[in-house]
């Protein structure tokens, strides 16, 4: 079984992001970039399937400019077998990503596609679902457990109020939630091996897709600063403030 995993280059989750002074975007100057944590979980899951003998090949794909090859390389160091970069410029919106991924799926014919449920930069949570609609493949989103069962995959989903398990026919799309697994570190020998693994570059035209933008970012601004807290003298005072100032109890 071939598994395709999508990985995205995003701002490292430890970085405190700032808006650009003109409010046009997040300031990415001098900022540490990393693989999106949900994508890392996707890679880990694919590699575990391979280690278990269920998957035969893991292909990591990323869409972006040349810099995203670094994240593909990370996926290769984590255990993916080969990489594909679809070369694009500037920001690409979920629909374009989904169309490009569809192009890659048509070329690669994977049995399973694993994506992060969202990336921590845009927090859109759309690509996996759009890809499902475009390809007519079954989708199991927000997965906290993935079990291959013959020509089906059982996906336990984290839904409001509990867990739901769905059984999907392969080929299928899975998007990962935080609790699916805990990704490993790429060990040094595997980092060295990753250098020699193949990484192909495609253009959107190769995949028959024209990356057209439908969305425009109007403004990016930081959240309102939180007011400093105060110490209250007594429980009575606390109740009074919650009632009359914060008006959260009555």
């Amino acid at each position: 079984m071939k598994v395709l995993v999508a990985v995205k280059r995003v701002v490292d989750y430890n970085v405190k992001v700032r808006a650009k002074a003109d409010g046009s975007d997040v300031d990415l100057n001098n900022v540490k970039m990393a693989i999106n944590p949900f994508c890392e979980i996707a890679v880990e899951e694919a590699v575990r399937l391979k280690e278990a003998g269920t998957a035969t090949e893991v292909v990591a794909v990323s869409i972006g400019d040349k810099a995203c090859q670094e994240q593909i390389r990370t996926a290769l160091a984590l255990g993916a077998d080969r990489g594909i970069q679809v070369e694009t410029e500037g920001a690409v919106e979920p629909l374009v990503v989904a169309k490009l991924l569809k192009g890659v799926i048509e070329k690669e014919q994977p049995q399973l596609v694993i994506l992060g449920k969202q990336s921590i930069d845009g927090d859109n949570n759309q690509t996996g679902q759009m890809l499902g609609a475009l390809t007519n493949m079954a989708q199991g989103t927000f997965a906290s457990e993935v079990a291959i069962d013959g020509d089906k995959v059982n996906v336990t989903r984290e839904v409001d109020g509990g867990l739901q398990t769905v059984s999907l026919n392969l080929p299928a799309i899975v998007t990962t939630d935080l609790r699916l697994n805990e990704p490993r570190y790429a060990s040094l020998p595997n980092i060295m091996k990753a250098k020699k693994k193949p990484l192909d570059v495609h253009t959107p035209a190769d995949l028959g897709v024209e990356p057209k933008a439908h969305l425009t970012t109007l403004k990016v601004e930081p959240p309102a600063e939180r007011q400093a807290g105060i110490m209250v003298e007594s429980v009575e005072q606390l109740v009074d403030k919650l009632k009359n100032e914060a008006k959260v109890i009555s």
Partner: protein
């Protein structure tokens, strides 16, 4: 000119940063607490074993050891960032095997010594110490008096060594001794491999030092060694010893960069939160100057370290660079940690924060492997000689 590290070394840096954050820093409060109650800044055998197991699993073992011995044989340039991260934590752990003796042994061992000393050392089975300094010969090791005399097919060593690290746990000592008094450092000093259980070798005393550290004094009294204990060529022990010292100095400089960076990061996080006289500490020009100067010093030290490592990897002489770097990195780290402690006020004096231990470690580094003044002297002499 390319200031960017190759991708795989950046990934290695990331791996080591994660190792430090997830495995070393969690142990640090306990290490600081041990030091605070006066039992030394140590990690237990169990803690060390667990760390060793993780280093091994992640392939962080023998980063600069020869490939023939299962090492990664990475160039110095790859280790600059690695050691910067390792240096940040106050947990006394370096990625094994500790590089300096490895370098010296690798440059000097014969086949028998390779399998008897170097290979077990690379595998992590032995601890290797070095005995150069003496009560009358520190900055000036050429003044050493410990003698080695060939009697029949045995070397007989006599003398005292002092300030020797790891003497309590070492399996062997690379011991420097005078084999030809007339020649001195130019052909009269040799290196020997002395097993710690050799009769005539004894640890005379433990010398407690700053920050829960300790060194030891050794006595060599008619200590008999087989002819095969000679490491490298007779009379030519000084050059490989300098190679060892260079390796350590580059390593120390990068530890200092890590320590300085951490001290700066701590100040940058704290200063905006602490208010005095109605405004944040970070609004004070003095504190802003500390921050700007620290960033500049660290940046300069880092570039010096990259450059020195790059030259070292090309096989160029780095004598002057190593001395400039060792003096600059230790002194700038001392200044930066001190200012960060000042910025934290009384909190900076506590043994709960790592700052005081960082200061202790840097304080020691301004002495060992050559005090700052000696390194400045080396640089000046080198320039003045033209």
């Amino acid at each position: 000119m390319d200031f960017e590290l190759p991708e795989e070394y950046r990934m290695l840096e990331e791996l080591v940063a994660n190792f430090v954050a997830d495995h070393l820093l969690p142990l640090e409060p306990e290490v600081l607490a041990r030091e605070a109650v006066g039992v030394g800044a140590y990690i237990t055998a169990e803690e060390r074993e667990a760390l060793d197991a993780t280093s091994r699993e992640l392939g962080l073992w023998g980063l600069d050891a020869p490939e023939s011995m299962g090492g990664m044989d990475l160039p110095a340039i790859a280790l600059v960032a690695v050691n910067e991260h390792v240096g940040k934590s106050m947990v006394p752990y370096v990625l094994p095997p500790d590089s300096p003796n490895l370098r010296m042994l690798d440059a000097t061992v014969n086949d028998e010594q390779r399998s008897r000393y170097l290979e077990p050392y690379v595998r992590g089975e032995t601890v290797s110490a070095i005995a150069i300094s003496e009560p009358g010969a520190g900055s000036d090791p050429a003044a050493m008096k410990t003698s080695a005399v060939l009697r029949g097919d045995e070397w007989v060593l006599n003398g005292r060594k002092i300030w020797i690290s790891k003497a309590d746990i070492a399996d062997h000592f690379i011991t420097m001794a005078v084999t030809d008094k007339a020649q001195g450092a130019r052909g009269g000093i040799s290196a020997f491999l002395v097993d710690s259980d050799t009769p005539g070798l004894s640890v005379a005393r433990k010398i407690p030092m700053l920050g829960g550290n300790a060194t030891y004094e050794l006595e060599l009294s008619d200590c008999r060694l087989p002819a095969s204990a000679l490491l490298g060529e007779e009379g030519k022990g000084f050059a490989p010893m300098q190679l060892r010292l260079s390796t350590r100095r580059l390593e120390m400089a990068t530890w200092c960069i890590g320590i300085a960076q951490r001290a700066l990061d701590m100040l940058v996080e704290y200063a905006p939160q602490r208010e005095t006289f109605g405004s944040a500490l970070s609004d004070k020009q003095t504190v802003q100057n500390w921050i700007a100067e620290a960033e500049t010093d660290i940046h300069a030290a880092r570039l010096m370290a990259w450059h020195t490592a790059w030259k070292l990897d090309r096989g160029d002489s780095v004598r002057r660079e190593i001395s400039m770097l060792k003096a600059h990195a230790t002194e700038m780290a001392w200044r930066i940690v001190d200012r960060s402690m000042q910025g934290f006020g009384a909190m900076g004096m506590t043994k709960e924060l790592p700052l005081q231990q960082m200061a202790n470690e840097v304080r020691l580094m301004r002495i060992y492997d050559g005090p700052t003044e000696i390194h400045k002297w080396v640089v000046a002499r080198d320039i003045l000689r033209g």
